[in-house]
């Protein structure tokens, strides 16, 4: 019982800190409370681990008091500022305000209930699987949980040089250390509570995101498509960093798309923070910032914002994300930790040359085998491909277009990493079985989101075109 309460506290404190910051960011615009709480978990965990990193490297002891009290106090200040400010607009405008949806039939309610039961059963399975088994996976022993254990017992962050894979960011390890600090001991089982919580938080954010553009049934279907992935399901129960990167990465994309629709800078700032946290989760997260900038440029072009607005938005995106991203890399630079190690271990070594392009067919083949013929993703990628073929391009569906572009950018990025760095063996070479699945996991949720965004319009073609909120367009449509 006491352990359950301590575990709950280990989750609630980051949620509270995240809630305060999200409320501050969304001071001018009210955000749906459920979405707020779901985002709060990710925001809180991100801020918490960065704070722990600062404490660790500054020589202060990594304990409950040093970790919690300053963070909670700062968070409280943000919350007070947020509550004292009057919101300019009551709610973020959603297509639901414009389109009147008919009352659902009994069959539809039954179908929705069935989907909810399916999702609930799987979530319970994930929670049970996570905390019933101790850590038993390679990366956990070798790096993630091992580093977390060191931080817990040494009560500090020792020189990165002496740790395995010293260049790797520390978000997941510090999150596990946080859980151990809360329960007062190291437990190979209960430190994994953060993974199912992350998955649940992501599911809620995805649901709310899809609900913004579709309806309950389609949003639930999106969640079912996500849960149907064996790899995502399994990674929500083990101590790997890929789930966290999936979480921060895909939520950044969703926030950028919400910013595109609503033009509210709050979403852009949230995206910027999550982009920064992604860079503190895995090395690839730093390279994702390039993708976010490309999406940002595309959205700015679509929205035809003024020059002044563009500058403001650019700063809103780059300042939080690059501050978090560069801080860790600058720290590694000054502590001489930019290179991972020797030979195969150095994941950051470049292998440039036009001859590398000859490996492209092998890389594409590796992606094809993994996405369509492995047991990782159900048949979701095939459904996504067929959905793209059946896409009604006459209907403007900017959100789906942005998601599609994101998917291609991620595939392109990882292909480039395979071709032009020493990571080729891990992605498409002899060792491809060990890495490629996890790389695809980082952007996999975009596939269910794409399927739902495309097919919702295909099935509800008699309704108003509800993609991309545009007051002028709504007036014209009315």
């Amino acid at each position: 019982m006491a352990l359950s309460i301590l575990l709950l506290i280990s989750v609630l404190i980051p949620v509270f800190c995240g809630y305060c910051l999200i409320s501050f960011i969304f001071t001018k615009n009210k955000l749906d409370i459920v979405l707020n709480l779901a985002l709060s978990y990710g925001m809180g965990m991100g801020i918490l681990t960065i704070w722990m990193f600062i404490i660790g490297i500054s020589g202060l002891e990594l304990n409950f008091a040093n970790t919690t009290f300053p963070l909670v106090c700062f968070s409280f200040i943000f919350l007070l500022i947020a509550k004292h400010s009057t919101p300019l607009s009551e709610n973020i405008q959603t297509p639901k305000d414009i389109v009147t949806t008919p009352k659902p039939s009994i069959m539809l309610i039954s179908f929705n209930s069935f989907l909810i039961i399916f999702i609930t059963v799987n979530i319970l399975q994930i929670f049970w699987g996570a905390i019933s088994w101790p850590i038993d996976s390679w990366d956990a022993f070798a790096t993630i949980a091992f580093k977390a254990k060191i931080f817990f017992y040494e009560k500090s962050i020792p020189s990165l040089k002496i740790l395995p894979h010293p260049t790797y960011p520390l978000h997941t390890s510090l999150a596990e250390t946080w859980t151990a600090i809360n329960i007062g001991r190291w437990s190979d089982q209960y430190i994994k509570i953060i993974f199912p919580c992350t998955f649940l938080s992501f599911l809620i954010v995805q649901y709310k995101f899809l609900k913004n553009y579709t309806d309950t049934t389609w949003s639930l279907l999106g969640c079912v498509l996500l849960i149907s992935s064996n790899l995502a399901f399994y990674h929500a129960t083990i101590s790997y960093r890929d789930l966290f990167l999936m979480y921060y990465n895909c939520i950044t994309i969703m926030m950028l798309i919400l910013w595109s629709s609503s033009k509210k800078t709050s979403f852009l700032i949230t995206a910027a923070f999550f982009a920064g946290f992604a860079s503190f989760t895995k090395l690839e997260g730093s390279s994702f910032i390039v993708i976010y900038i490309i999406l940002f440029i595309m959205i700015s072009f679509f929205n035809k914002t003024s020059f002044k607005e563009n500058i403001k938005n650019t700063l809103a995106l780059l300042i939080p994300s690059l501050t978090i991203c560069l801080s860790f890399h600058i720290y590694k630079f000054f502590t001489n930790n930019l290179i991972d190690g020797t030979a195969d271990c150095d994941k950051t070594a470049l292998v440039l040359g036009l001859g590398q392009l000859l490996k492209l067919p092998k890389v594409i083949h590796a992606f094809y085998l993994n996405m369509f013929l492995s047991g990782n993703w159900n048949i979701v990628w095939m459904i996504a491909c067929v959905s793209i073929l059946l896409w009604d391009y006459k209907k403007k569906n900017r959100e789906a277009f942005l998601v599609l572009v994101s998917i291609f950018l991620f595939i392109g990025l990882y292909s480039a990493i395979a071709l032009f760095t020493s990571n080729y063996p891990w992605i498409a070479g002899d060792k491809k079985v060990t890495t490629l699945s996890r790389l695809i996991l980082h952007f996999y949720p975009l596939a269910p989101i794409l399927i739902i965004l495309i097919n919702h319009l295909n099935f509800s073609s008699d309704r108003l075109d509800t993609s991309s909120i545009n007051p002028k367009k709504q007036a014209l449509n009315k």
Binding site: I106, F118, S132
Partner: protein, 242 residues
């Protein structure tokens, strides 16, 4: 004329459900015919294969050289292509409502394929869950670790019980540590020995312990004054240098 007291939406849902059931039966019937196995065996084969937990790759073993997803894709491509061609013909003929209906049919069919595989996958997941539950029932965390990691965990626990305070250790082995089994087992040992025994980094304590793991000639590393604290079949040895 008798009017059915069923709403349009309800009728659509009922039709969809019936079509889904028919598709599921057709799928199982075709597989049963091709593979020449009983109906139940078709379902059992799916249950064994659709969820094989692995952190890096869920492999999808064939059923008698038959790939489950390849068959589904073949089925999908066959029906989707036919319907798509029919939809294009209707678009060209400017029969847009029929083309749209065909599009929706294609999408519905895709979701039929998805839901059938998901149901079968869910029963596969349930199998994994029940096996895990049976194994972990009434076992403590320590018991589970002992069951998973066997000698490596037992060695670490014995070593920690024999030592007081914190030490640093030298890890010695005649196995190649970049290959199985050493590549993973060495890490398991290092993980479970920590924090009492640290291997691989300086925690500012005395480096006075040797961990001998599958060393052919242990005596080479053991001096007269060294105390042998743990010896498991001469394969896992912990010595304290004096």
């Amino acid at each position: 004329m008798i009017q059915l007291p069923i709403k349009k939406d309800t009728l659509f849902c009922l039709k969809t459900l019936i079509c889904f059931l028919l598709y599921s039966l057709l799928y199982i019937f075709i597989l049963k015919s091709i593979l020449d196995i009983p109906y139940v065996a078709v379902i059992e084969a799916h249950k064994e294969r659709l969820c094989t937990p692995n952190s890096d790759l869920f492999t999808l073993k064939n059923i008698k050289d038959f790939h489950i997803y390849s068959f589904t894709y073949f089925f999908m491509v066959l029906i989707v292509t036919s319907l798509y061609i029919f939809a294009i013909i209707n678009y060209i003929g400017k029969n847009f409502s029929t083309a749209r209906s065909i599009k929706r049919t294609i999408l519905l069919f895709m979701f039929f394929c998805f839901f059938l595989l998901t149901f079968l996958q869910q029963s596969s997941r349930y199998n994994v869950l029940t096996k895990d539950f049976a194994v972990t029932k009434k076992r403590s965390e320590s018991d589970k670790k002992s069951m998973l990691f066997k000698e490596e965990y037992e060695f670490a626990i014995r070593a920690k019980n024999k030592l007081s305070g914190r030490h640093q250790a030298e890890f010695l082995t005649d196995l190649k540590c970049d290959e199985d089994p050493c590549i993973i087992n060495s890490r398991i040992i290092k993980y479970f020995l920590y924090p009492e025994v640290t291997i691989g980094f300086d925690n500012k304590t005395k480096k006075d312990v040797n961990v001998l793991y599958f060393v052919n000639d242990p005596q080479k590393y053991i001096n007269d004054k060294d105390e042998i604290l743990v010896n498991m079949n001469n394969e896992y040895i912990l010595t304290l240098r004096k």
